[in-house]
């Protein structure tokens, strides 16, 4: 049986369509007319991007295939393991292999949601409304709980009444940025999943 690499098998040619029975396998497979199926590869004409799995800390590399639809949207077609990676060599576990479900989940929150004190339900609101209110909350809580000098006369400049917790699933650049901003606000209560 001649060997074919995964890369060769997945290669998206210019024509896009390929009857699976011929040439790519290196030999001709004779199929009866009734069972010969002409299929387009689902990823025909797709753009290949590289990502990393969002789940555990092995850090498997992913190849993601996207296509622009006729109404200008970007459609995610497939996520597979990246055969070039020295970490996973193209393999994925069940979570990584189904990571597409996370990206295309119908359960995503569609808009900013606000719940007033004592309210029994969510209200869909604008980003501006939310960010304005939160900013005012931050300022008022910071001013109410800021300690400039402690009981021993030491300058401490800390905000004791606001905490930030997150996030092991966002990028390092986002994480560093969160640390910088939260320390800039004077927060001391800063945590993420490392402790738990």
């Amino acid at each position: 049986m001649p060997t074919i690499t995964r890369r060769e098998f997945l290669k998206v040619g210019g024509a896009g369509a390929g009857a699976l029975a011929v040439s790519g396998l290196g030999f001709d497979v004779a199929l009866a007319e009734s069972t010969k199926v002409k299929q387009s590869l689902r990823i025909a004409g797709a753009k290949e991007s590289h990502s990393i799995c969002p789940y555990c800390a092995v850090g498997c590399s992913l190849v993601a295939y996207t296509r622009q639809t006729s109404d200008g949207k970007t459609q995610l077609l497939q996520i597979e393991g990246d055969p070039d990676s020295p970490v996973n060599e193209g393999r994925l576990c069940p979570k990584g292999a189904t990571a597409m479900q996370l990206a295309t989940s119908p359960r995503r929150v569609g808009s900013p949601l606000y719940r007033a004190s004592g309210a029994t339900g969510w209200k869909s609101v604008s980003w501006d409304f939310m960010l304005d209110k939160i900013a005012n909350n931050i300022k008022s809580s910071r001013d109410a709980t800021f300690v400039a000098t402690d009981g021993n006369g030491n300058s401490v400049n800390r905000c004791e009444g606001i905490a930030f917790a997150g996030g092991a699933a966002f990028s390092s650049e986002e994480g560093y940025f969160a640390t910088k901003l939260m320390r800039g606000l004077g927060l001391v209560h800063l945590e993420q999943q490392a402790r738990v």
């Binding site: 929150v109 719940r115 939160i134 021993n152 994480g175």
Partner: protein, 646 residues
Amino acid sequence: MTNHWRDIKNTDLILINGANPAEAHPVGFQWFMRAKLDRGAKIVHADPRFTRTSAVADMYLRMRVGTDVAYFGGLINHVLQNNLFHDAYVRNYTNASFIVKEGYAFNDGLFSGYNADKRSYDISTWAYESIPAPPSPGEANATREGPATSGSGFAKRDMTLQDPRSVFQLMKAHYSRYTPEVVSSITGIPVADFKKVADLVGQMGQPDKVMTIVYAVGLTHHTTGGQLIRSGAVLQLLLGNMGRPGGGMNAERGHANIQGNTDHAISWEILPGYLKIPAPGQKTIADYVAQSAPKKSDKNSWNFFGTNYSKFMVSTLKGWFGDAAKKDNEFAFNFIPKPAGNASWMTIYDQALKGKMEGLILSGMTAASIGPDSNQVRQALGNLKWLVVMDPLPTTSSEFWHAPGVDASQVKTEVFMLPTTHWIEKDGSFVNSGRWSQWKDQVLPPEGQARHDHWILADLFQRVKRLYQGQGGKFPDPILALTFDYKDPSKPELDEIAKEINGKDLSTGKQMTSFALLKDDGTTTTGDWIYTGSYPDAGNLMKRRGGIQDPKANDPTGMGFYPTWAWSWPLNRRVMYNRASADLDGKAWDPKRPGITWNGSKWVGDVPDYPPTMDPHDPNAWLPFIMNGECVGRLFSNGMDDGPFP
């Protein structure tokens, strides 16, 4: 991990404790199986449960939860009693020869210095006997700026390891208690099984053998977690396995970027790069460094971290506060908040229950489902004035106020649910357990109204800043000064932030190429010194793709380093402390599995964790473990609050 995933294929023996990698890290586990199938490595799995990992292990040991100190302690005892330790390594690369000062004792299960009322230790007796520290010729090799690195003296040493107060002899006595019968009675492992493992482990002290220890939350999720892990590391030092391909102490972390965000210090007690958070009472950088940085305790100690501590701190302050950080105001040291004490996970919810926490921002983390007590957390959330949840999906925290059985009208908390983007809708890097920082593309645009976490935080910060500018308020200085050198301050690009993390030389405008070049005079910046070098002017090294498509070109040593795939900290080094992979002459302990070796004029192989041209034959050459004050592996350590020996 001191090593990395692919490196595990290089090992002869794998001890797995507190982990189930076949199920929890299945793709990483291929490297364990490669070691087993390709080089005949053995896998020993010690765990309270028989799992899929146990099913493919050569030995499974059913052990009681949290008894790993007895397990590793018994192995330490076996190695010491039978002289199976790696002699040259232990003598030269660990603190076995260091003399502990009079006053240190261990009796009846307690170390010296125990205060029964406070239920804590005064650790001052956990120290070395001091000899005066002469100005050593080796000091000329260390950079001179900043506070003095020498402590009150250097440690007295006995290279014969015979002195009864040497770490070696104290350790031998300490672990003599862990006979196979005692190990069995504590751990539940049958004596015969334990002896079989001890035989396997006892062979790993030979220079041409190497063992790895792999662990996960089964070791960390204990109040004694630090010591459980340390007992494994101590065993590895005795066997000469730290710093070597196929060796090390390897944590299998749990999340896509838990490593990166630990490094970037979303943790109450540290600043990026594991600098300590300043403490009340420290008025100046000098105070801070004196209380935080390691101190040199041997003439051949580089004390790299201690020597550079002020440079890393000042460069971070300069990066964060820009022009407001000046020589005459301690580079805005005062802008950094100083916690009174523990401000960790547990304290957050305790404080909320006491009515002292007004607001909480949860970003990609659901408090109500994580941590030891869900009920306590949900009660605490109900006691906040306001809660912000940033997540793509609803979570147990965003919905806590109308969970089943909860009367929403009684929950006063104002709750904000902000839909965020998924990992695939933004670029940026994830750092895996092996410290490899791998950049990902933005594959999809944000869906619907979802926004990026960093854009939300940037926008919020700008709004808070405008409120302070307009209304005044408590100490607005750090808020007004915080640097936002991005094309759009409310929409910074992750690429811009990556450059900031790397750091810049302000006098030339060039990106820094190494943390060794950072200064404490305000002319350099960094966001996180351990990432300095990841994004030089040549480009973002985390994007590199020199992988297995061409092993000859991309892995020239054949050791699985793949140095041009992505970028690992520090400085793209794959195995940490790799100076310890070679002997005193710079020859690999195991020539078949070299880490770095001395070729006569420089160190070659992996990126050396050592000055690249420092001749090992120079009597003033540094020792291998450059990050601590002793510059050797610490069998005895005063770095833990609950005991110098595990």
